[in-house]
Symmetry: C2
Subunit: 160 residues, 2 copies
DNA sequence: AAGACTTCGTAAGCATGCTTATGTTTTGCG
DNA sequence: CGCAAAACATAAGCATGCTTACGAAGTCTT
């Protein structure tokens, strides 16, 4: 151990948030290693259960990732025979996503692991803090989603 | 618009946290695009300013990433002539990291952008909420760092 | 001193996220 | 109808994170 104290650069909340997210992801994937599914793949399946038949673009928007990001996750899920892409009969540009029955039990397993991992992370925090955290993060997500889209493209530029 | 309500799967705090971190990162990189530095590279430089001459392994531990992850970031920083690897005179396994003078002003620029991005994300949240958030995340980080290391390797293997 | 074990940095290979560019299809305007 | 514009999915290429595996260099044991 050196004598240098290096007091850390006051982890600016941005870094802190990123660290927590990364560690949570890491821990989850440690716990879920046996299942052969990553966290992102699970997230796709979980949403799919609620919205089977959704088009890739729509799901990407729901997940707030870029369409190409989702496309690659779906590639792997299709390779694993957990998901099917089916053409839309009306619009041949669109591919709709459907779950294979094998995916269902897997989703439940992931859920259990997710709950356990979350419990590890939140240990020692009372329910009030958890609620508070959820609420604050919700606000931040809204702020950021808006900032990203308006600052990025001025898509519709409706301003209202 | 379809008539399907799909009420979202109650973004389990894990997902929410991940989303916020991802969007914050995305937004930061949008804002910082002109500087030619990514967030991770900035983080390395920022720590380096406090702890010049640190060995790669030590810095990786400080950042709580794997050594290989840091090695690749340093590769790019060295390519950009912002950082130097220098051999340790005593231990030839070790490479110590030093900043080039060009990095200093860059760090300051990044700091400004970081502050601005954080402000965007936290808009509408009172200072009390921000403090609360920081505190809660700190607890979670501690929990997770511990869970990751004990659950991952049983390093010290307390009882076999 | 020699062999084993550990530590440091790195290589290889994968998954996820991004941006930018492409091809295909649908739509919309003349 | 026919061509331009928009929308959907994908390809290509990069950065970051991981795991696993390795070579080189210290350290420890015998």
């Amino acid at each position: 151990m050196s004598a240098i104290p290096h007091d850390l650069p006051a982890p600016t909340l941005g870094f802190l948030l990123n660290d927590v997210a990364r560690l949570l992801r890491k821990r989850f994937e440690q716990n879920a290693k046996g299942l052969g599914l990553t966290r992102a793949q699970w997230q796709v399946l979980a949403h799919l259960r609620r919205a089977e038949g959704i088009a890739q673009g729509g799901l990407a928007e729901l997940l707030e990732v870029e369409p190409i990001t989702l496309a690659r996750i779906v590639d792997r899920l299709e390779d694993a025979a957990l998901v099917e892409r089916r053409p839309d009969p009306k619009d041949r540009r669109i591919k709709r996503l459907f779950m294979r029955p094998e995916a269902l039990s897997l989703i439940d397993d992931m859920q259990v692991i997710g709950d356990a991992t979350r419990a590890e992370a939140l240990e020692g925090l009372p329910a009030a803090d958890r609620d508070h955290l959820t609420r604050i993060l919700g606000v931040m997500k809204t702020n950021l989603a808006q900032a990203c889209s308006t600052g990025c493209r001025q898509k519709e530029a409706v301003h209202g």
